[in-house]
Each structure stands twice: as structure tokens, then as C-alpha cells.
């Protein structure tokens, strides 16, 4: 466990250094409330979710709907371009670089994580890896999926006068929520 704490601290430091926001919740239910409050704070109204373990288990769609948000989780090609925020889950978080790694073979996953201005990524704390090397081994062992995405901070450019500007084609906010007890698949 102490190892996890060390990795979490390192991840957080690296991710924050590239303008990501990092939160942590004990359970899926807590994560649901946390996400709801974050979205309310941002003034988001329309949300798209690509469901996976954590959001399903925490009944995230219901929680957010109950809070008065408009939530979509299917046929996202129509909804994602109009949404204020997208929620997806990733499999790994790499402490070395503050990167998230997810199997993004599912097109809905990619839509919610690229089109809206805010991307909330849920990840099991057990998915923390120390290094990119470890993460690549894990990816290879699982049989390389059709599309893997590494996400490190929000979308950025320095193409005009080399001035760093956040939020070009992808999200301008990346919010990462670690969940300690996912309930399943928590290796």
C-alpha cells in the first residue's frame, strides 16, 4: 500500500505539472458525488459518458441525472460535439510521466475524451504503474488493442510564437479521479 501512496504522489505531481487536476475517492459512490460536484462547479449541463466498471457500479448516470444534469451514454456521435463534459474510464496511470493509458478501441470512449472541453477520466488506484516500461509490458501482454490512448494533461499547442496555450482541438480541462475500491477488477 505504501508503494501505491508513493506512486499516487508521484503521479499527481507529474500530472499537475502539465495542468491536469487530480482527485481521489475511496469508493465508486464517493467518486460519483465528487464528479457531480465538480461538474456543478464548472457549470456543465450536458454530459456524455462512455460507461465502464466504475461508472456502472456507481450508477453515475443516475447520480448525475438526479443532480439535474442532462446525461447521454449512447449514440454519442450526435451528442458528444454538443456536450460540456465527457466521462470515460482508463486502465492505467503512469507515475513516471503523469500519463493515463486506456484501451480506446470503443469509438464512444474516444468521442467523450476528445470532443467536449472537459474530460473527466476515472481510474482505479490499482491501475497505477511506476514507469512507461511497465505499462508497455502490460499492454503487450494483454494483446495489443485496436487503439490505445495515452493522455497526459489537456490538449495544448505552442504553434503561435511558441506560447503555450491550453485547449486546442481536444479538452482544455483534464480531471482525473482515482477510485480506491472499484469493487471489481481491482488487481
Amino acid at each position: 500500500m505504501r508503494d501505491t501512496e508513493r506512486l499516487y504522489a508521484e503521479f499527481r505531481q507529474k500530472a499537475e505539472a502539465v495542468s491536469a487536476q487530480v482527485y481521489r475517492a475511496g469508493t465508486g459512490d464517493e467518486a460519483g458525488i465528487l464528479v457531480g460536484n465538480l461538474l456543478a462547479g464548472l457549470g456543465s449541463k450536458k454530459i456524455v459518458i462512455s460507461h465502464a466498471g466504475i461508472s456502472r457500479q456507481a450508477k453515475l448516470e443516475q447520480v448525475l441525472t438526479d443532480m439535474g444534469l442532462e446525461v447521454h451514454s449512447a449514440k454519442l456521435r450526435l451528442q458528444a460535439p454538443l456536450a460540456d463534459a465527457g466521462i470515460s474510464q482508463v486502465e492505467m496511470a503512469v507515475a513516471e510521466t503523469g500519463s493515463l493509458i486506456g484501451d480506446a478501441s470503443n469509438v464512444e470512449d474516444r468521442l467523450v475524451s476528445t470532443l467536449p472541453l472537459v474530460h473527466i477520466a476515472l481510474v482505479s488506484t490499482g491501475g497505477l504503474k511506476a514507469t512507461l516500461a511497465e505499462a508497455l509490458v502490460a499492454l503487450r501482454e494483454g494483446g495489443v488493442p485496436g487503439q490505445i490512448n495515452f493522455i497526459t494533461g489537456p490538449s495544448r499547442t505552442s504553434d503561435i510564437e511558441r506560447v503555450l496555450t491550453i485547449g486546442v482541438h481536444g479538452p482544455e480541462k483534464l480531471i482525473i479521479v482515482f477510485v480506491d475500491q472499484e469493487g471489481q477488477g481491482n488487481g
Partner: protein, 727 residues
């Protein structure tokens, strides 16, 4: 391009203050940021791995292509092998037509620009949008990228705002955040409407058929997500054999390119994934990979250039290049810019296309030092220079001059006449023009006067009172020390004598051949290599020592290279080279010198390109200076070229001058009273600059400082050392 147009273009960009400022500030901040990004990583080890991975893939290019094709095909991709740019274009055009494509979005791909894909698609009436912000700006402005990673680095926010205003029918203010928002809005509608995406890849993994793409803006991900047809154009140099080979490239590419630990996004794509074929239904994506040769396999077949395939296109060679930092990318004339661009242009556009631009390389070697693929870019450029020299012949004046230099007797007697004839033109230790044949080569700059008595004549008069000789060294003076700075040679003798080494001077020695070698005249370089090896053949000295690092580099490395295919000379060259050593390196190896007479003094040290990067000597002279009583204060960018670079300062005085200016600024800001160095060429350039700007800092060769500081001057020879600075 005709030489005159080329010169005009250089003049034009040098006068562009916007570009100068943008490139200058980038060059300064990059070095530091890069170093920070690599903190905690062993760059040498990482680049060793990258070079090994890329060299293996290049060596097995056909096998890689076959494996990749099999693996990607098994995952549902359609793979096409294009020998030429035209084949690749035709394939993509046919595909677009077959799929009824009207609108294309592109994420960054140098290869598509290499083959002119956009133009071909536009001619067919298909709309093509670049989506990388920099590339999109250039597309709207009808300009070419000036940098591989930061394509629009030459433009200001005001210029970008004007381009947007003109093209988008709406007034845009020069506010970067607002301009980026505009781009997001405009391009978002293009992404949503696109029916085909075209991408480039950074890595193609042969064993899994995976394409790896590094981006920051998110355009790469959108291109891979929204359109129902997706095409990758991938150069054959992108292969890596194994999935785990991704790691070292992932660890070096972003750090070297933009000093990032990692880019915002890394996508690894293996075969097609589902896409929305309309707004409501998903289905399998039409997914194609075009593997592009277009000169790449010819590059591999050429043993002098195969290492160019180890390039991972990070652009760090541009970021540290003194010439690129002044000129930007447009003078390079084609899509690939800078040193590596010159090489790629020669192979993708033909040797002729690199004819002028290869001359822009100073041969300072800084790019090779930072290259994550371990490419020896300067050596490859030199090879291009030689081939062009052989094919086209050198300009008349250069040819005559090099012919004279490689005829020892003629050259030396002309120099002696020149020493007398220059008298009316000399002012102090500088003259305005060298008389006779060299006048045309000076470009109107001050050159050091030719000494009344060359070292070859004065050295015999030195009383080498070495009581217990411990060894013998044969001195290779080189033209500058022999004819312009004999006092440096005399200092070398004095210091070596103090270490118990007797110095001899083989009279038949001549020019080291560097001017011929660096101007692309291999014939004369070979001739001089043989002459000099012969000249030293009779000497039984343990060391062949030189106080000019360019000469030392020639003697120790290039002679072997020039003669390696000549059975009668190859071994001789190797035996000769094994004895060659740099002056500071030798004195250091012999135990250095003790602090002697005189006050301590503040000195800064300038690393000469060949000494540091070819000979690996940079600690030794510093330690010698400190033990001789110097308080060493490091200047900024101590190993940045001074702009002399042999004949470069004569060929391109307009580029050499601002490079020197930056060096002088760094020297002045160090607060030292001396600037010390080990190269007479640098000494000539830097003392000339200090002199012209009235900066009260003395430039000296390490040998001179050591000779001045020797505890025991040993006989009344001090007077020969006194005129050691030029003012």
C-alpha cells in the same frame, strides 16, 4: 537554385527582425529546457538504444515491411507499398474516389508534404484541411513549414491574425488564446464533416502492425476517431521491430523535440476500430496504410547515408544549429529543413536540390551531439559536398586556391612574398586584405597579418635546453600557427620543454587539408594527407602534437578516412594517427603544469568545435588553466561555434558575423579578463571581433597562457611570448 538567388534569400531572411528574434529566443531557451526534460535519464544510453533499434529496422527494411504488412493485414488493415510519391498519391486519390470522399482532414504528416499530396487532392476537387494549428496557418497563408516540429515558428501573432482575418471573413485580433479558439471552432466543423482522415505516424511496429502517433493538440485523435475512412502515409524509415522498441523512442522524441516529458497524446493504432459511418450507426472503418519508399531504400543502399534512416524527426538538430537559428527553414528550399533536411532533400528531391544548402553547414558538430538517433549529420553533409564537388566541380577561385595550398613549395613561397607585400596594408596585427590570390577569399574582412618569420624558420633558433629529455614530440604546426601565429608554436615548444619533451619540426609538413576537405575537394585533401604522412615518416618521435584542433582532427581522424580504401596507405595513416595528440591533451597527460609566477587571473574558456566534439577534449585545458593560476568563469554556451569554421567565415560572412556576435556577447558577460581557447582559427575570429567592438578582453591560446605562467622561464626567451594578444 542559382547561387545569386540563394544569397539574396539569405540576405532577405537575415534582415527579417521578426524571424531573428523568434529563432534567437527559441535557440536560447531550448537547450536549457531540453536538459531539464532529460534530468534523471541517461541520454547517452537512451540514444544508444534508439540508434540500435532504428539501425536494425533500416538494415531489415524489406523484412520489416513484410512483417508489418502481415501483422496489420491480420488486424484488418489494407496495406499498400508505394515506391514513389506518385504511386502513393495515385493510391490515395483512387481510394478517395472509390469511397466518395469530399472532405479530408489531415493530422501532421511530413511525408504527405514531401510528395505534394494536398495539391493532388485539391486538383481533384476534394477539400483538404490541415488540422495541426501551425500547418493550418501555413495552409491558409500559402507558405511552407520552416521547422519540422514547429512549422509556423517564423510567424508572429499579428501575422497569424491577419491570415485568419483574410481567410475567415471575420476580424481576428492578435491575441494568441483567441486565435487558438478560432482555430478550434473553424476546424471542429471540418472534423465533423470529414469523410476521410489522413495521418502520419512516428513509429510503425513491425511485429504487431501498430502505428504510433505523438501529438499535443488532439487533432491526431480526432482524425483517427471521426472520419469513416482513415489513411496513414508512413515512410519506410519509421519501422521498429518490436512493441517494446516504442519505449526509448517515446522517451526521447518529445524531450528532444519540444523538451516535453511526453506529448499530451500518444495514440497506438493497430488495424481498424469501429467508426460512425453516419450520425447514428457505427461500422467497421475503411483503414489503409501506405508504406512510402520514395528514395529511402536508395538511401539505405548508400553506405555513407544509411544512418540517416535512424532519424526520428525530432528536429533537435535544427534547434541547436547556429546557421538554422539565424536563417530559419525557408532558405533550405524544400519541406525538410536544417542539416538533416539537407540530407533528406538530396535523397527525396535529388542531389542537385541540396547543391547550395549543404554549404550552410558550419561543420560545428553540435547537432551530432544532441541527436537521439546518433546520426553524424555533419559527416553526411560533408559527403554530399564532396559528391557535388566531384559532379559539378568547385568554383574557379576555390579550385585555384586549393590547388595552390596543396602545392607546398608554391604555397609557402607565396606566403613569404605575401608577408613582405602586405606591409603597406597592415595595421597593427590585422590587415585589411591579403595580397595575391587570397585577396578574393577574404570577403573584405580583417585577417591577421602574415608573420615576418614563420614558425618553420623561427623554431630552429629556440634553445631547447632540456636537461633530462623524457621524450620527443614532432610538432604539426598547421598554416595558421606556422604563418600567422608562430608565437603560439613557440609557446608550445616552451611548455613541452618544461615537461622534458624535446620538440622537432619536420620541414616537409604542409597544410593539413582541412580547407580542401571542407570545401568538397577530396582529391587535394588526399594529396595533402599523403604529403604529411610522408613528412613525419622519418621522425622517431613518440608524439605528433598539434595546437590546432582542426589539424588534429584531420590528422587523427580524417587521414584514416580519406585513405582507408587505399591499400598502400591505409595502414600508414592508421599508424600515423595513433601518435597524434592535441597539445592540451598531451600536457595534461604529462601531469600538467604548476601555478607559477604572476597574479591569479579571471579567464573564461571557449570550447572549439573540433576539440570538444571530435577529440572529446574539454576538461583538460580547463584543468591546465586552473592549475596555472586561473580563476575559471564559465561563459554561457561555451561550446557554441564562434562562426569561424575555416572558409565558412569567408564564404558566408553575413552568417558568420552574427554567430560571432553572440559569442562575443557571452564572452563579455562572463566578466573574465581573458578568453582562452585551443584553436588558432577561433582565436583569429574572436580576437578580430573583440578588437572590432573595442571589448577589453584578451584572447589567448592555452599554450600562450601556460608559457607565460611557467615557474621557470628557462633562459631569456620571455620576449618572444610578450606579443601574445592582438590589439
Amino acid at each position: 537554385m542559382a547561387e545569386r538567388d540563394f544569397r539574396q534569400q539569405i540576405q532577405h531572411v537575415l534582415e527579417n527582425q521578426v524571424l531573428r528574434k523568434a529563432l534567437g529566443s527559441f535557440g536560447e531557451s531550448y537547450t536549457e529546457a531540453r536538459e531539464k526534460a532529460y534530468a534523471g535519464y541517461d541520454f547517452e544510453q537512451l540514444r544508444g538504444e534508439v540508434a540500435r533499434i532504428k539501425a536494425y529496422a533500416a538494415e531489415h527494411m524489406a523484412e520489416m515491411a513484410q512483417q508489418f504488412t502481415a501483422a496489420a493485414t491480420a488486424r484488418g488493415a489494407k496495406v499498400y507499398h508505394a515506391k514513389t510519391g506518385d504511386e502513393a498519391k495515385q493510391y490515395i486519390l483512387d481510394l478517395a474516389e472509390r469511397c466518395g470522399v469530399k472532405n479530408i482532414v489531415k493530422s501532421k504528416s511530413m511525408a504527405t508534404e514531401e510528395i505534394g499530396l494536398n495539391e493532388a487532392l485539391l486538383r481533384k476537387g476534394i477539400d483538404v484541411q490541415e488540422t495541426d494549428l501551425g500547418e493550418w496557418i501555413l495552409q491558409l497563408a500559402h507558405q511552407r513549414p520552416s521547422h519540422m516540429v514547429m512549422p509556423a515558428i517564423h510567424m508572429t501573432r499579428e501575422q497569424v491574425a491577419d491570415v485568419f482575418t483574410e481567410n475567415l471573413g471575420e476580424k481576428n485580433e492578435p491575441d494568441i488564446a483567441a486565435l487558438v479558439k478560432t482555430a478550434r471552432k473553424e476546424l471542429r466543423s471540418k472534423f465533423l464533416a470529414a469523410d476521410m482522415g489522413i495521418s502520419g505516424a512516428n513509429i510503425a511496429v513491425a511485429e504487431t502492425g501498430t502505428l504510433v502517433m505523438l501529438t499535443n493538440e488532439g487533432n491526431g485523435r480526432l482524425t483517427a476517431t471521426l472520419p469513416r475512412v482513415h489513411v496513414f502515409l508512413v515512410g519506410l524509415e519509421k519501422f521498429a521491430a518490436k512493441f517494446e522498441d516504442i519505449l526509448p523512442i517515446l522517451q526521447t522524441l518529445p524531450r528532444s523535440a519540444t523538451a516535453q516529458q511526453i506529448t499530451s497524446y500518444v495514440s497506438m493504432i493497430t488495424g481498424p476500430t469501429p467508426a460512425y459511418i453516419n450520425e447514428l450507426e457505427t461500422g467497421p472503418k475503411e483503414f489503409h496504410i501506405v508504406l512510402l519508399d520514395n528514395g529511402r531504400s536508395a538511401m539505405y543502399a548508400d553506405r555513407k547515408f544509411k544512418q540517416a534512416l535512424q532519424c526520428i524527426r525530432c528536429g533537435s538538430c535544427l534547434n541547436v544549429c547556429p546557421a538554422y537559428q539565424l536563417l530559419g527553414g525557408h532558405v533550405y528550399g524544400h519541406i525538410y529543413t536544417g542539416g538533416i533536411g539537407t540530407i533528406l532533400t538530396a535523397f527525396t528531391q535529388g542531389l542537385e536540390a541540396s547543391g547550395e544548402i549543404q554549404n550552410l553547414c558550419l561543420q560545428c558538430g553540435k547537432c551530432a551531439e544532441v541527436c537521439p538517433g546518433e546520426l553524424d549529420i555533419p559527416a553526411m553533409i560533408l559527403e554530399l559536398r564532396n559528391r557535388i564537388g566531384q559532379q559539378k566541380g568547385l568554383p574557379y577561385i576555390q579550385k585555384i586556391a586549393l590547388g595552390v595550398v596543396s602545392n607546398r613549395r608554391l604555397f609557402h613561397s607565396l606566403l613569404k612574398i605575401a608577408a613582405k607585400a602586405q606591409k603597406p596594408f597592415a595595421a597593427g596585427r590585422m590587415i585589411r586584405h591579403l595580397p595575391l590570390f587570397t585577396a578574393n577569399l577574404t570577403g573584405g574582412m580583417n585577417l591577421p597579418a602574415i608573420a615576418d618569420v614563420p614558425l618553420r624558420d623561427s623554431i630552429a633558433k629556440i634553445n631547447q635546453a632540456v636537461s633530462e629529455p623524457k621524450g620527443r614530440a614532432a610538432l604539426f604546426a598547421g598554416c595558421l600557427i606556422d604563418f600567422c601565429y608562430p608565437e603560439i608554436g613557440e609557446s608550445v615548444v616552451k611548455v613541452l620543454n618544461s615537461k622534458g619533451v624535446v620538440v622537432e619540426f619536420p620541414d616537409a609538413q604542409s597544410c593539413c587539408g582541412a580547407p580542401a576537405n571542407y570545401m568538397g575537394d577530396r582529391g587535394n585533401a588526399v594529396k595533402l594527407a599523403k604529403q604529411n604522412i610522408e613528412a613525419f615518416a622519418a621522425s622517431g618521435a613518440e608524439y605528433i602534437v598539434s595546437a590546432c584542433p582542426t589539424c588534429t582532427h584531420m590528422l587523427a581522424h580524417e587521414f584514416v578516412e580519406l585513405l582507408k580504401d587505399n591499400p598502400a596507405w591505409a595502414d600508414k595513416a592508421k599508424r600515423f594517427a595513433a601518435k597524434v595528440t592535441d597539445f592540451s591533451q598531451l600536457v595534461h597527460a604529462l601531469g600538467g603544469i604548476q601555478a607559477g609566477k604572476g597574479e591569479n587571473f579571471r579567464t573564461t574558456y571557449h570550447d572549439s568545435c573540433h576539440l570538444k566534439r571530435s577529440l572529446g577534449v574539454f576538461r583538460e585545458p580547463r584543468q591546465l588553466l586552473v592549475s596555472a593560476g586561473a580563476e575559471l568563469v564559465e561563459m554561457k554556451e561555451s561550446d557554441r561555434c564562434c562562426g569561424f569554421a575555416g572558409s565558412y567565415s569567408v564564404k558566408f560572412p553575413e552568417i558568420s558575423a552574427p554567430i560571432l556576435e553572440r559569442k562575443l556577447k557571452n564572452i563579455a558577460e562572463s566578466g573574465a579578463e581573458n578568453v582562452c581557447m585551443d584553436c588558432p582559427g577561433c582565436l583569429m575570429q574572436i580576437s578580430r571581433g573583440l578588437n572590432a567592438q573595442g571589448i577589453q578582453i584578451k584572447a589567448k591560446h592555452t599554450a600562450q597562457i601556460l608559457a607565460e605562467r611557467l615557474a621557470d622561464p628557462g633562459g631569456g626567451e620571455e620576449t618572444t611570448q610578450s606579443s601574445s594578444t592582438w590589439d
